[in-house]
Symmetry: C2
């Protein structure tokens, strides 16, 4: 059987008791290591589980899924996923491939950033669709996310923005020369995300959001050193949130008073928060 | 310290290793028992934890929160929540009360139905706002949810519908006479939800959805006997999903081919599924 086991958000102890039991008795254990990261490294997981863990990069999962699934008809193979197996990044492709091979799948759910973001004090009921923000390059600044944010903004809902990570990326030169040399990992920060959002608005000029729009920056959700900051997008462009992973929530107009009170507590600046809030937010608007 | 510990979705083994450690060493352990249920009872939890668990009903949480928090400035008090502490039902009020009393809070995240619903094969990115469906009564059939579903439908997004549960409810007569006699618990089924949705559409006649609209019924998400069914709302009015808890997802027009393939596998009737799908769904529409 193929077991997709969610690891949760922070460290090795965020696995569920059920998940841990399966990991301990499985034949092989893979760790999906290219769309999200835990705040501890693989060695820490191996020590905690008392067994080796095989790192699965994008290449292995996308082109070598049959290697992962080898023998799963007779024994238990575990595929560990940071967060929830069907959370932000879905692994339906692996399940579908297993199904084709006649291999059963079992999913062990866990916390995902898509529910964990409730730690901000914003109600999950008030979120619209989630969007992703990729690292802009000089000649490639995709703004399709902007259209989806607009849909949420028009209804008055919050938008969770998930931030890009680059792990095991090759430079164009190394890729062209077929050299397996990888760039250091990069994790987008709340400040970079806010900056890019304002860049898109500058370019599109459709007024979906602006420097005074309120947002929440969240770092290391679910960890002991979790950090939350609220402020205007302009303020967030210079905020220092520390280690990855970061996420951002653009506040919707329909914000409830209870939500406002909760996020105001961790505002960068309560005066600018109140001023921006009074202009454009509140359930009655 | 006040610890809000998520229990996940199915049984006693869905708690995280970190959560279990806190439960074992805490001074008192409460279980929030009125907005969601695990698929095992309190005795099973107590046996698994090796300690007593105090059931916290709505009354205790809403009016007796200071009793729950008593001593939390000096020792560890745990408040167990089915799913994630900040999931579908938020407990920000308890955290805010603790903050007023100068008591620190710690949250241990876990799987929530709001991310666990990814098990349907539908991408969480394609969901709009979540709505709740309450039990209709003869003279009370609230349809405010219908307006929110319309917002999602207009954009083409899926809608997760969370279904009402009634635990420790009094009959009007018993309430009037001040008798603490409670009705047996009731859990809304997928069939009841689909029926009520069609009733609302009959009444409002705004064409937000209809008997041919496609939806997914999900029962016991995350459990070994999890059950998924897809079909038209009309078909789902007679579907038998078994034990609680149930949820429903109304399919959005923007469904991706991969999502369609995944949910078609568990269609009540593949022919009616294909016919309905061809009429109104698909990413290109």
């Amino acid at each position: 059987m193929l077991h997709l086991v969610g690891l949760g958000l922070a460290d090795e102890t965020d696995i569920t008791v059920r998940g841990l039991e399966i990991v301990k008795r499985a034949e092989r254990v893979y760790l999906e290591a290219y769309t999200a990261i835990l705040l501890v490294d693989k060695a820490k997981l191996e020590e905690f589980y008392g067994r080796p863990v095989i790192e699965a990069d994008r290449e292995l999962v996308e082109t070598g899924s049959d290697d992962i699934l080898a023998g799963a008809d007779k024994s238990d193979i575990v595929f560990l996923v940071v967060g929830d197996p069907f959370g932000a990044t879905t692994h339906t492709d692996l399940v579908l491939r297993a199904r084709e091979l006649g291999i059963q799948s079992n999913v062990v759910p866990n916390a995902s950033i898509m529910s964990g973001i409730g730690c901000t004090g914003l109600q999950l009921y008030n979120f619209g669709q989630t969007v992703s923000m990729v690292f802009f390059m000089d000649n490639w600044k995709p703004s399709s996310y902007y259209d989806r944010v607009r849909e949420n903004v028009q209804i008055g809902l919050h938008t969770l923005v998930l931030l890009d990570i680059k792990v095991k990326e090759q430079s164009i030169e190394n890729m062209a020369r077929g050299r397996r040399i990888y760039e250091p990992p990069r994790y987008m920060t709340v400040a970079q995300c806010a900056q890019q959002m304002l860049e898109t608005e500058e370019e599109r000029k459709e007024g979906v959001f602006g420097p005074d729009s309120l947002a929440v920056g969240a770092a290391r959700v679910g960890a002991a050193n979790q950090k939350l900051v609220s402020g205007t997008l302009q303020e967030l462009t210079t905020v220092e949130m520390g280690e990855p992973l970061h996420s951002l929530v653009l506040l919707g107009r329909r914000t409830h008073d209870l939500e406002r009170d909760y996020i105001r507590e961790y505002a960068v600046n309560k005066d600018t928060f109140d001023a921006s809030y009074a202009k454009a937010y509140g359930a009655s608007l």
